[in-house]
Amino acid sequence: MEALIALIIGVLTACGVFLALRGQTFPVVLGLTFMSYAVNLFLFAMGRLAIGVPPVIADGARYTDPLPQALVLTAIVISFGMTAFVIVLALKARAELGNDHVDGTHYDEDGPR
């Protein structure tokens, strides 16, 4: 399972970085979302992977670390809010700049205009 989780985090991050480097705002927002998914999984995995054990300490029972779950919850809320904000900002930029390129410049066959 460790290898699978590592692979998922890696692929999500790679997709996120690739998309974030694109020229249009929509792929950039998607890329940031992918990166925040990746980091949420990563934070979660940092409490070590354990299956079927509760995040509370009981007598003699095995337990999983509850703190990363709290951290992930915080990180999810923050990244959710940020994504909402950046989408609205991207829409505003589309309205103000007249196109959805991150530089505000429209490119066609003849070059920028």
């Binding site: 925040s36 934070l43 940092m46 951290l71 990244s79 900002l89 930029a93």
Partner: protein, 510 residues
């Protein structure tokens, strides 16, 4: 320490938050009332910062346990000399920027004062917290407020610069979480004092992981501080936002510098055993490069606002150079230089706004315009500020640079530090002199006059008062240079003894 005094460390965080909420409820009431509440809340931060500076001044490190959970299980706020110093600088610059904003900029959009108070909430929290994840949360708070403030008023260029600023900071937040996650995975704690203890006992197998996390964190802080090569977002963002917001943002890059100083003097400082002095190879050279490139930007700027933004980049270079040298004297020089560069840059942003109004259609672009109304006052203020920013005597910029040069005397980087600081100082002086002569002397004659689309407006005394206030602070920093540099030096000494911080937070005496 008992009763109310015990709760002082939480007040700089709580006060702006409550003021922000109250302002949100007052959003439909008169503007005067909103301004009054906002200014009063910001003003109240100053006596609070003075009280905390006095308490921390004798070396006490106040630890405030939220929910009365002991560290490392609960989150702590720590007031030491450094935190109190940063709170003071923030409160002062925030007050003057707010006084400027209350003369009209706050009417350009909605919720200005709410966002402003939330920004202060994030800033103060970041300076006070003793927990790494909490630092991330406060970073997000101050960033989210700063996005709103940056875009306040709207406009094409502002939205474009804002989009870049938001995206790059979101990527930075992701990196921050990766670094924090790695550190937690290795050590199982997020409390900075506890992390220091645990990191010192890193098994050799985990050393590479810890170093990766440490350098990732550095990348994040460097991004906030606009250190080379992460400085590219700053000039556009600062040059295109409103003047008061840019003035407040002068302290925002210092949050990055503060975090670098805090984290790398503590967690990766002398007490950190195998991971000690992680940054030695990186910080000073990057700071030298930032200083050089920032000053080149100052020379190449085409408008006063842009030039000021590049001066902020250059000042971050000097500041982190001082922190990078890492000796007590050098850190003290940096700490003295920090409020100076913040006040001076903020004042120049505010002044650039008045100059730009007085020049009408020419705004603050470096091209000959008509003689502006009130040129003597504006020019006089510009001259004094340019002297401060170029680091000439008798103002505080000179003292800061002098302390830095003196501290570099026994450093192996001596020729580099002296060479770069002195040459960039000269270059900055020439650039500012050129800007001044272009803006104030090379005026077009009256017969070149064409009907102006934007009528020039003479500066009012009220608009110039915040600039004058910040200037008085700079002069105050010279008059009381003795006590202030003494405080800075004591702060540096405290930072170089991380076991004091660890002892105060964890309640142990190692």
């Amino acid at each position: 320490m008992n009763g109310l005094t015990m709760h002082w460390p939480i007040l700089p965080v709580l006060l702006p938050l409550l003021a922000g909420i109250v302002l949100l409820m007052l959003r439909n009431r008169s503007l005067t009332l909103q301004r009054g509440v906002s200014v009063a809340a910001t003003l109240a931060l100053i006596p609070l910062a003075i009280a905390l500076m006095q308490t921390a001044g004798d070396g006490t490190q106040l630890v405030y346990k939220l929910g009365n959970w002991d560290a490392p299980f609960g989150i702590v706020l720590v007031v030491d000399r450094l935190a109190a110093w940063m709170l003071m600088a923030t409160a002062l610059v925030a007050l003057f920027a707010l006084l400027h904003a209350s003369q009209g900029i706050d009417t350009e959009g909605r919720y200005f004062h709410v966002l402003y108070q939330l920004q202060l909430f994030g800033l103060n929290g970041a300076f006070l917290t003793g927990d790494l994840f909490n630092l991330f949360v406060f970073f997000e708070i101050l960033l989210l407020a700063s996005y709103g403030l940056l875009l306040h008023g709207g406009g094409r260029l502002r939205v474009k610069a804002g989009l870049h600023f938001v995206v790059i900071n979101l990527a930075g937040s992701t990196l921050f979480l990766f670094a924090v996650g790695t550190l937690y995975g290795v050590t199982g704690t997020l409390n900075m004092a506890d992390l220091t203890v645990k990191l010192a006992r890193t098994p050799p197998g985990n050393l590479a992981l810890v170093e990766t996390a440490g350098l990732l964190l550095f990348a994040v802080f460097a991004l906030k501080a606009a250190l080379l090569p992460f400085h590219l977002w700053l000039p556009a963002a600062y040059a295109h936002t409103s003047a008061s917001v840019a003035a407040l943002f002068a302290i925002m890059t210092k949050v990055g510098a503060y975090s670098i100083l805090r984290v790398y003097s503590l967690m990766f400082g002398d007490a950190a055993g195998p991971v000690a002095q992680l940054l030695d190879a990186w910080l000073a050279p990057l700071a030298l490069a930032t200083l050089t490139l920032g000053m080149l930007g100052v020379v190449a700027s085409t408008s006063l606002r842009q030039q000021t933004a590049y001066l902020v980049v250059a000042s971050i270079g000097s500041l982190l150079l001082a922190f990078g040298l890492g000796t007590r004297d050098a850190i003290a020089a940096g700490l003295y230089y920090l409020p100076h560069s913040t006040f001076a840059a903020a004042a120049l942003f505010l002044l650039a706004d008045s100059i730009s109004r007085a020049r009408g259609e020419f705004a603050d672009r470096f091209e000959p315009g008509f003689a502006m109304p009130g040129a003597r006052v504006l020019g006089g203020l510009f001259f004094v500020l340019a002297v401060a920013l170029a680091g000439l005597p008798p103002l505080s910029g000179f003292l800061g640079k002098f302390m830095l040069l003196k501290a570099a005397l026994d450093s192996p980087l001596l020729p580099w530090v002296w060479g770069v600081v002195l040459v960039t100082g000269l270059v900055g002086m020439i650039a500012l002199a050129r800007s001044g002569s272009l803006l104030f002397y090379r005026t077009l004659g009256a017969n070149d006059a064409t009907p102006a689309p934007t009528a020039p407006t003479a500066p009012t005394w009220a608009a110039l008062a915040p600039v004058a206030g910040l200037l008085l602070l700079l002069i105050g920093m010279v008059i009381w240079a003795g006590p202030l540099s003494g405080y800075a030096s004591a702060t540096a000494a405290q930072l170089l003894q991380p076991h004091l911080y660890i002892g105060a937070v964890l309640g142990t005496t190692p």
